[in-house]
């Protein structure tokens, strides 16, 4: 009971410190843990792998810095896959803060594969409009919305863009999503215009995307950092995703242990309370306070 009492009164900062230590140590070693590729990521890879050399994949960057840790490794892996197969890339963004993240990834991947802006890829930047934009690109065409790229250069200065008029010339759309734009791409561009879509999503929303995969509305799903790691394994280029998986595994083990300990503590406290004040195992009372919240000292 002493141990349980100590656990019940454990300072939350000790847990934070434990999580931090368990996260940092595996990152220093940078080993490649064994990673089994899930069917949905394999489907995403196969879908992009079927795009012929010279084909066009459009990337939609629908996230910002808050989801960078999960989606940027995914974007890098998919860009590497496309560039290694000489597939051309059009990048756009539904989130304004996603545009620079997308450009950073493009610059980095293009440098690795000696790709040239305008010849092999283009970034048409951010456009507002959401659903209306997605329908408009299919109906009215690209030039109604994107006459110039993000630098202000006419998009027709890129030779491969002269043949792109609407979704008909796009082989795949890769939506990297931290919000509702993924649903919109599937429901508007996919369902109404037959655009073939692969989604890469933040972990928090991955489960809500599985119905699209089951209904064959998307051709593949890459979920969270784990998905990014799997994709990196498929292209045989282990990087941030794979290196992060060791930390992820160890932190998960720590969380499971903490959950079990927390439940045991709660169970024995409840049992002690039921025995009454005269019982052997009187509760510490710490369990009544509920989970500890961060204590703010901000003035009202």
């Amino acid at each position: 009971m002493k141990l349980l009492r100590w656990l019940a009164s454990l300072d939350r900062r000790v847990i934070y410190a434990l999580v931090l230590i368990v996260t940092i140590i595996p990152l220093i070693w940078k080993s490649n843990p064994p990673i089994e590729v899930s069917p949905e990521v394999q489907m995403a890879y196969s879908s992009l792998d079927k795009v012929p050399a010279g084909g066009i994949v459009m990337f939609s960057i629908d996230y910002d810095g808050a989801s960078e840790a999960e989606l940027q490794p995914m974007l890098m892996a998919m860009l590497r896959h496309c560039f290694s197969r000489n597939v051309r890339v059009i990048m756009t963004a539904q989130w304004p803060l996603g545009m620079p993240l997308g450009q950073m990834a493009l610059d980095s991947a293009a440098a690795e594969y000696h790709k040239v802006y305008g010849r092999d890829f283009i970034n048409v930047g951010y456009r507002p409009g959401g659903n209306a934009l997605m329908v408009g690109l299919g109906k009215s065409g690209f030039r109604q919305y994107f006459l110039r790229d993000f630098r202000g250069t006419p998009i027709d200065s890129a030779p491969f863009m002269r043949t792109v008029h609407n979704y008909g010339q796009i082989d795949r759309l890769v939506g990297l999503e931290a919000g509702a734009s993924g649903d919109a791409w599937v429901q508007y561009a996919g369902a109404q215009f037959g655009l073939r879509i692969v989604l890469g999503v933040a972990g928090v929303m991955a489960t809500s995307m599985y119905p699209y995969l089951d209904a064959k509305q998307i051709e593949g799903l890459v979920g969270g950092l784990r998905g990014a790691a799997e994709y990196e394994m498929l292209i045989n280029h282990p990087h941030r995703g794979v290196w992060g998986m060791n930390s992820q595994s160890y932190v998960h083990v720590l969380i499971v242990i903490l959950v079990i300990l927390g439940n045991l503590t709660f169970y024995f406290e409840q049992r002690a309370k039921k025995r009454g004040p005269g019982g052997r195992g009187q509760g510490t009372g710490a369990g009544e306070q509920g989970p500890s919240e961060p204590q703010t000292e901000r003035p009202a």
């Binding site: 996260t23 810095g65 969270g224």
Partner: protein, 285 residues
Amino acid sequence: MLGTIISTWIAATLTIAILSFLYKDNPLYRFAEHLYVGVSAAFTVVIFWYQDVWPLLVGNFGDFLRAGNKVEAWILIIPATLGILMWTRFIPRVAWISRIPLGLIIGIGAGLGITGTIHGLVLPQLRGTMLPLVNPAGELGFGHGVLFIILVAALAYGLLFRRLTRGVQSWATFWSILTGLALYILLFGVLKVGWLKTALSVIAADNLLIVVAVITTILYFYFSREHKGLFGVGSRIGIAAIMISFGASFGYTVMARVSLLIGRCYFLINEWVLKGIVGPLRGIF
């Protein structure tokens, strides 16, 4: 090079400032928090102005006039006017005018939403749920195991453990599931009962689970009848399906939050410590 080192140091300092909140609230955290909000807002405004408002409105106006497309040029006055009308919200006397562009946005949104939802979500998802319940391949999968455990657990719960545990639901559920799991391992893993395997493999278990989960979840959200009897049983299965879905979402959420911490730690170790501190020091010494 120097610019990269300076920007890395700024990013690392701000990361540590934000993480310092885990110890306790402090002025450094608050500074970083406000800075993030301010910079994000400013960045969004700049992107909107230079990527959209200026090229699509002012730039296109000039381009169309130079190309002799006067109608296309002057038609841009309409969206520009509607955009300016939105700002009347800040003047209480004429704030009602902002309802005109808002009405237009809501109208377009609703129109697109209805067609998009029906054509892009409801119909494809209905098609996706109309699945064959017979398994032509005749192979056992993960779904078969789940189905077998659920069936055995349901029987054990109703016939045995509800009485044995004197109505303590949590223990009855626990022992029922454990019985299902033990029987599955015994019959399929140890004894390898052939006829049972053949009988179970006839069913397309994954499809059956999807169909049952969808129907029972919809039953749970049917409020025009009291959830009793067979209807109540269906509704309770629906709750179980929803809870499993919540559990999966929560698991993914934990993974996602840990990923964010990994992302920041990766940056601090590789970009800041190795490239921002160790790298320049190696250059000096």
